[in-house]
């Protein structure tokens, strides 16, 4: 997956929009598949710093669209392994420094295509070492996680650790109760969660904190009504969702907000029909792909989160998404039941 954005535009039927819109499944599949073939284009080099994330976004979108065979399995495995360091961590692309965010994407990709064993077979480091790389990033005093050796701390990294380690069945490598306590310290009076204690609530951080609590089996710590209330206030008159007060709507919040609501059993606190229509208006139905809002340029990031949002809303024809992992539910259920 080399290319992340363009060239299509969402909302090409701007103006009078029909109530019944279809999801342009085939064109979205073609769009995602085409991203990898644009190696000769500039974009290949311009978005290097998140290439591995991009593969995860594209792969997940294809699975949810019901086209799991859409990306070549062997080439995907080869690419993922080429990003690995001896430490066990993964960089965004070959030659890039290792970091939690790319390591998590690597694990999620391999888990999705059932190739985790390739780590022990062909990786620069095996499963256990990948787990140790992640676990080594926990601050054992505070329970929080750094993204890499340089120490930036963010609840995104904590969630990433829980996500990847649970898929590898290596959660025992970290201090879960301490991490849970740290998440709890990030809870705010309005029911939401921030990047660290004292930081204001942000829908993206809420997803990571609630997701971590869900994986740890500690959703009892969440003030569900208060949080549900804050999340429900994210919906704007045009049906779209924002991530914080007085921000613009953005299709990716269809994921961060909705998955959080799903995890606390309050999906119905958002008007699902209006949101569905908003997401569909963000499509480029001719060229494929989904944009952050109608009229803007599409990219694979907004494509996966728009589709994942539609899946949560039970849009017909889509595979069920796991609200905690943002992966197909069938796959996470299989892995986690082992």
């Amino acid at each position: 997956m080399s290319l992340v954005s363009g060239p299509g535009r969402g909302g090409t039927s701007a103006g009078a929009v029909p109530d019944e819109l279809k999801l342009a499944v085939d064109n979205h599949v073609k769009y995602i598949q085409s991203l990898d073939t644009r190696q000769d284009e500039l974009e290949y080099w311009l978005t290097e710093h998140l290439r591995l994330n991009g593969v995860y976004w594209g792969l997940t979108a294809l699975h949810l669209l019901g086209h799991p065979e859409g990306l070549p399995r062997d080439a995907t495995i080869d690419f993922v392994l080429s990003c690995q360091h001896g430490s066990g961590g993964f960089g965004a692309a070959p030659g890039h420094d290792a970091h939690m965010l790319y390591t998590v994407s690597a694990v999620q990709i391999l888990a999705t295509i059932d190739a985790v064993e390739e780590l022990d077979l062909r990786g620069k480091a095996g499963e256990e070492q990948v787990g140790k790389y992640i676990a080594g990033l926990q601050n054992r005093e505070t329970g929080s996680f750094a993204g890499d050796e340089w120490g930036e701390t963010d609840t995104r990294f904590l969630f990433g650790a829980f996500n990847a380690l649970s898929l590898l069945h290596l959660l025992s490598l970290i201090d879960v109760p301490k991490a849970v306590a740290h998440v709890h310290a990030c809870a705010n009076f309005d029911g939401g969660y921030g990047v660290s204690p004292g930081a204001e609530s942000h829908a993206g951080q809420i997803y990571t904190c609630v997701g971590a609590l869900a994986i740890a089996g500690r959703l009892d710590l969440v003030d569900r009504d208060r949080l549900g209330g804050w999340l429900s206030e994210r919906q704007l008159p045009n049906g779209g969702l924002n991530g914080r007060p007085e921000k613009l709507e953005d299709v990716c919040y269809s994921w961060w907000v909705m998955s959080s609501l799903a995890m606390i059993d309050r999906l119905r606190w958002i008007d699902g029909d209006k949101l569905t229509q908003f997401i569909l208006r963000c499509q480029d139905r001719e060229q494929g792909g989904i944009a952050d809002r109608p009229g803007d340029m599409v990219d694979v990031f907004h494509t996966v989160f728009g589709i994942a949002g539609l899946s949560l809303l039970s849009f017909p024809g889509l595979e069920a998404v796991d609200p905690i992992y943002c992966m197909p539910k069938a796959i996470t259920s299989r892995i986690l039941s082992k």
Binding site: L42, W45, L46, E48, H49, L50, G91, A92, G95, H96, D97, H99, D148, W150, G151, E152, D154, F189, D190, V195, S196, G198, A199, E200, H202, E233, R244, P245, E246, K247
Partner: protein, 316 residues
């Protein structure tokens, strides 16, 4: 350092050298911040530079970025002393194109860390200490330029704010330009006045970045983290810093009332013990805000959130 191609028939080669020179200009001119603009690609492909204003069209920046990334990654693939300096300078262009380019940012941190190791190895010789301080100061000015310029996503980039915090956490004395201090010095060693003026400066960078990108989560997060960094070391003096900052932050919020992150930082300041304690300042801020809401019949969600938040602090 020579750019990869440098002759009259290759304008890109010349532009590369020009951009490198402009981004490292502060070496010569002292610590002034660049105001960098990326112009639409329709502009003619040349660098426009009249210090401190720097502008270039997107199409040209992309070409220069491709050159820079090649220099950086070919050095990383087989590191040699001869290619190091070019790779280091190339990281400045990589980050100008992509503020979240982790590998480029890490390369610069490794450089600073290596100067620190050399200083220690040479028994904290003054010359090595000076070199470290210069590098730290240059890095901060480079970050100032990226974080406050009218660029698309630099002002909110977590990688850039993380870089800044890393410097403050590890090279506090050098950040305060205290070249006479020895590694291992606590912030206490610097004068209170110097810390106050340093904090003022940092807050002004945060506010400038917050104006470039509204509701700038990582900018305000940096402000909180910086404040906490010095907290334990300076408790009696912290009250002074926090109270003065309260006024500045409140003024900023009233000028940007739809910015929930600004209000969030204000709540953070008000929630700290030093201000809640006997806190006429906190109550005054709440009262003034309520009067402001009444005066303008303001209905914005962010101000409403602020008033609920301070309600929790029992300030009114």
């Amino acid at each position: 350092m020579t750019p990869p191609v440098s002759n009259l028939s290759n304008p890109t080669g010349n532009a590369y050298a020009q951009l490198i020179s402009a981004l490292h200009h502060s070496d010569l001119e002292g610590s002034t911040i660049l105001e960098i603009d990326i112009l639409p690609s329709s502009h003619s492909p040349q660098l426009l530079y009249e210090h401190p204003a720097l502008a270039l069209p997107k199409g040209l920046l992309i070409q220069l970025y491709l050159t820079a990334r090649k220099l950086l990654f070919s050095h990383l693939a087989s590191p040699r002393e001869e290619t190091y300096d070019a790779a280091l300078k190339a990281t400045s262009i990589v980050l100008l194109w992509d503020p979240n380019h982790l590998t480029a940012a890490n390369f610069r941190k490794r450089y600073i860390r290596s100067l620190s190791s050399t200083w220690a190895e040479n028994g904290y010789a003054e010359e090595d200490g000076r070199r470290l301080t210069d590098a730290v100061q240059r890095e901060l000015r480079f970050l100032d330029s990226l974080l406050t310029s009218p660029l698309n996503k630099h002002a909110k980039a977590s990688t850039l704010w993380g870089q800044r915090l890393w410097i403050m956490q590890n090279f506090w004395a050098q950040a305060l330009e205290d070249s006479s201090s020895v590694e291992g010095d606590t912030p206490n060693k610097a004068t209170i006045k110097r810390i106050m003026s340093h904090w003022d400066y940092e807050l002004s960078i945060v506010m400038k970045a917050a104006e470039r990108h509204p509701r700038n989560y990582y900018a305000w997060q940096y402000a909180r983290q910086l404040l906490q960094l010095v907290d334990g070391e300076l408790s009696p003096q912290m009250k002074g810093i926090r109270v003065e900052s309260l006024g500045k932050a409140h003024q900023w919020c009233l000028m940007h009332p739809r910015d929930v992150s600004g209000w969030g930082f204000l709540v953070f300041l008000m929630a700290s013990e030093e201000t809640v304690d006997g806190d006429s300042d906190g109550r005054r801020i709440v009262r003034e805000t309520r009067e402001w809401v009444r005066k303008y019949e303001w209905e914005g969600e962010s101000v409403e959130w602020f008033l609920k938040a301070v309600g929790q602090l029992q300030l009114g």
